[in-house]
């Protein structure tokens, strides 16, 4: 199977006018025509998956992914109910949805699939999939917009999605269902009176479209916070989708962009924009934020720690600090040693002593003990087992185990090996009675699928405040 890829991307408007009332306003008709043109492009590029990130599906508990294979209902817009109803019967790729959900967990994200009869598919998703996929021939997947998610969480969400696109060899189309400026008129207007809400909103929209037409998607992502402050109604519908779409395209500035239409919908900025991954050579990459690979739990809405079971502890120090619990209880971090056959990677946490991440001998690869600490920040998904004072904390062994497996995978792949070549694992737990069940559950979902032998031991402590560590042996031969 060839590696999957994003073969096209689109920005599309969310309001129902393009489905229900294009004939009432020439601008709405032009948006509809652009939608039809985008649908044809999707057919022409032989896409086999449409991925929709919708700003009109807010979520609180991480991100939600639609996993009902055939959601059917009637959608009526909360504001524009007088335009009529949209009957939908969508073709959802439930297998992809579940795989994406699992990939999210592997990267430290909170997410879940939803599969309930009568689930209210949001207006943005219904409009997008009705027009982009009119015969519903191409399977789709829809993800929510988490109201608390920041840039790193949204970026990692895209990278987890790409993990699955590549693993499944899919030809995917990435779609953000969104307005540009989303400030609508607060009074009722006749269709012919529609216009962008203000000159300022129009000017910002024009600037965004200029960037997109030049393929400078990452630049728009970098401007997201400013754009949100300038031309967006605050709270749920933030300008997050550009973070997601940029990461889906490798955070690039040299895509080939095309603005198919830009028109007002009740004052909001509606645009259909096509982004071809073919390099245009136009944009310089200026990526000045961390290229986050793994979610560290830094939503920081209130900038304070809570003692709930979130995946990380906000008291964990900044990346510059070398400790996981502060106060010097932890060993210093070392650069990995580099003797012959050593395998080291920046994608795995630094050692706590003078040793490599792994070492190759003949066709065997031996990994040093791998824990859940995160590369770069040293944070512990699921939280540390004790605080800076040494007081025991509640922690999530499942999240820690997922993080261990993810670290193992990075080291194994750095060595050019595969997870299914792991032949033996020794696991160390600091609390067998408390943690075995959760650890065992994650094992079954991850390493257990590859069938290595396994030994699980209870020990008194590990060098850092973690609950689980694994020692792995890989056979590199076929």
């Amino acid at each position: 199977m060839s590696d999957g890829e994003v073969v096209a991307s689109f920005v599309v408007p969310v309001h129902p006018h393009t489905v229900l009332a294009p004939d009432q306003n020439p601008g709405w008709q032009r948006l509809r025509n652009a939608y039809d043109q985008a649908a044809k492009t999707i057919q022409d590029v032989d896409a086999d998956l449409i991925i929709v990130y919708s700003t009109t599906w807010p979520s609180i508990i991480g991100h939600q992914i639609q996993a009902d294979p055939n959601p059917e209902w009637v959608m009526v817009d909360h504001d524009f109910h007088d335009l009529g109803s949209i009957h939908y019967s969508l073709n959802i790729d439930a297998d992809f949805a579940h795989a994406w959900n699992e990939a999210n967990h592997q990267r430290g994200l909170q997410s879940r699939c939803v599969n309930y009869k009568g689930f209210p598919i949001d207006v943005g998703s219904v409009v997008a999939l009705t027009l982009l996929n009119p015969d519903q021939r191409i399977p789709a997947v829809i993800v929510s917009s988490n109201m608390y998610a920041n840039r790193s969480e949204t970026t990692v969400l895209a990278k987890a999605c790409l993990d699955v696109v590549k693993a499944q060899g899919r030809r995917a189309v990435a779609v953000t269902a969104m307005s540009l400026s989303n400030r609508m008129f607060t009074d009722f207007i006749e269709p012919e009176a529609d216009a962008i809400h203000s000159l300022k909103d129009d000017e910002w929209n024009q600037k965004i479209l200029e960037f997109l037409e030049e393929g400078r998607l990452e630049d728009v992502g970098q401007l997201s916070r400013t754009i949100h402050q300038q031309i967006r109604v605050q709270k749920v519908v933030a300008f997050k989708p550009m973070w997601w779409l940029s990461a889906m395209n490798g955070n690039r500035n040299d895509l080939t962009g095309s603005v198919l239409a830009y028109e007002p919908i009740h004052g909001a900025g509606g645009a259909v924009v096509a982004l071809d991954p073919t390099p245009s050579g136009a944009g310089d990459k200026e990526y000045d934020e961390d290229d986050v690979e793994h979610y560290q739990g830094d939503r920081g809405v209130l900038d304070q720690a809570t003692d709930n079971d979130e995946t990380t502890d906000a008291s964990i120090p900044a990346p510059e600090a070398a400790s996981t619990s502060g106060k010097g209880l932890d060993p210093a971090l070392w650069d990995p040693t580099n003797a012959e056959g050593s395998v080291n990677t920046d994608a795995a946490p630094k050692p706590v002593g003078a040793y490599p991440h792994a070492r190759r001998v003949g066709d065997m690869l031996y990994l040093s003990g791998v824990g859940p600490r995160q590369p770069g920040t040293n944070a512990i998904p699921g939280g540390p087992i004790h605080d800076a004072e040494g007081t025991p904390l509640d922690y999530d062994v499942k999240a820690q185990t997922h993080a261990v497996v993810a670290n193992i995978q990075r080291i194994v792949e750095e060595a050019g090996a595969r997870m299914d070549q792991i032949v033996d694992v020794t696991t160390f737990l600091i609390d067998m009675k408390r943690d075995f069940s959760g650890y065992n559950e994650v094992w079954a979902e991850t390493l257990g699928r590859y069938g290595p032998t396994r030994t699980t031991l209870a020990i008194d402590a590990l060098p850092t405040p973690i609950a689980v560590e694994m020692k792995v042996i890989v056979h590199l031969g076929e």
Binding site: I60, H78, K117, F119, V233, H266, V301, N308
Partner: protein, 300 residues
């Protein structure tokens, strides 16, 4: 025709967890209980309402969010399946409700006459929002009274809490005038939480009460401050502090329900009855009754 009367006003929050925990036959998921303090609070509210004679319930829910004006359900009957898009694991409720269209239209017309952008919602396919359904069930599980359902205009998000409150105070005044003119006896409900910062994770068993608490001490202080104003008859102070409360406690009063309720009750100076307080996935929720029936002349 006799002058219409508001017999009671209530703060009646709508977290679907409360319906889930109760296991009513209309809801598909099954729970092992949970959030009893609040559910017992609703029980006390229902007992308080049991002997009251009233014709209709008027509710403003922040989950029917409209950006273009204020809308009113405008058909006599709605039924269907309400699935919470955020907590679908907890709330998949089969609803069947009646609407007092005459009263809804009367409030609509009064608001229109006052210059407010308003619209009747007359699409039969419309799915009633889960906030209305949850509050409707918890307040009156028999569903034997018709409702008037008012949307939540998102003026806080568009402008500011101050602008929202100005609009909601006007909406409250026209609601009161329309009720008085209708000759009906009415209960008014604001369907919203107080502090509204959620946890972003959920226990494997959502009703695991060992995980439930307020998200921060600051949220607790704000909730208690507002409740004390309610209990001591200082509604005006609630309104005065609404901008700070709404912004600092990320309060669900941003949807306008509480301001509208207090305005509809003519900013009561008599004490409200606190029937219960508790947290739900970290948010602060109070079940509160303003017993207008005991203070005739103090409101409509």
């Amino acid at each position: 025709m006799a002058k219409g009367t508001i017999v009671a006003g209530c703060l009646a929050p709508h977290p679907p967890h409360l319906v889930y925990a109760e296991n009513p036959p209309q809801n598909e998921p099954v729970a092992e209980g949970g959030w009893e303090q609040l559910r017992w609070g609703y029980e006390r509210l229902r007992a308080s309402m049991a002997d009251l004679d009233y014709d209709a319930i008027v509710v403003l829910s922040p989950h029917w969010q409209t950006y273009v004006g204020t809308h009113f359900l405008g058909l006599p009957h709605f039924e269907g399946l309400s699935v919470d898009p955020i907590f679908p694991n907890l709330f998949r409720y089969h609803y069947d409700m009646k609407v007092d269209v005459d009263l809804a239209k009367a409030i609509h017309d009064e608001a229109e006459a006052a210059g407010m952008p308003v619209k009747m919602m007359e699409n039969p396919d419309f799915r009633v929002d889960y906030g209305t359904i949850t509050t409707g069930h918890l307040f009156n599980p028999e569903w034997d009274k018709p409702l008037v359902v008012i949307s939540s205009n998102r003026s806080t998000a568009y402008y500011s809490v101050e602008v929202m409150q100005e609009m909601m105070m006007e909406l409250g005044r026209v609601t009161r005038r329309a009720i008085e003119a209708s000759g009906k006896r009415v209960v008014v409900l604001a369907s919203n939480s107080l502090s509204h910062r959620h946890f972003t994770t959920e226990s494997d068993m959502p009703e695991d009460m060992s995980k439930e608490h307020i998200t921060s001490h600051a949220m607790h202080l704000w909730d208690m401050r507002m409740i004390e104003y309610m209990r001591s008859g200082q509604a005006q102070r609630i309104l005065d502090e609404m901008p700070e409360f709404t912004e600092q406690a990320i309060a669900e009063s941003d949807g306008g329900g509480l301001s509208w309720l207090l305005s509809t009750l003519d900013v009561p100076s008599y004490p409200a009855i606190l029937h219960g307080y508790g947290t739900i996935i970290g948010t602060g929720n109070a079940v509160v009754e303003w017993p207008c029936y005991a203070h005739e002349g103090a409101s409509a």
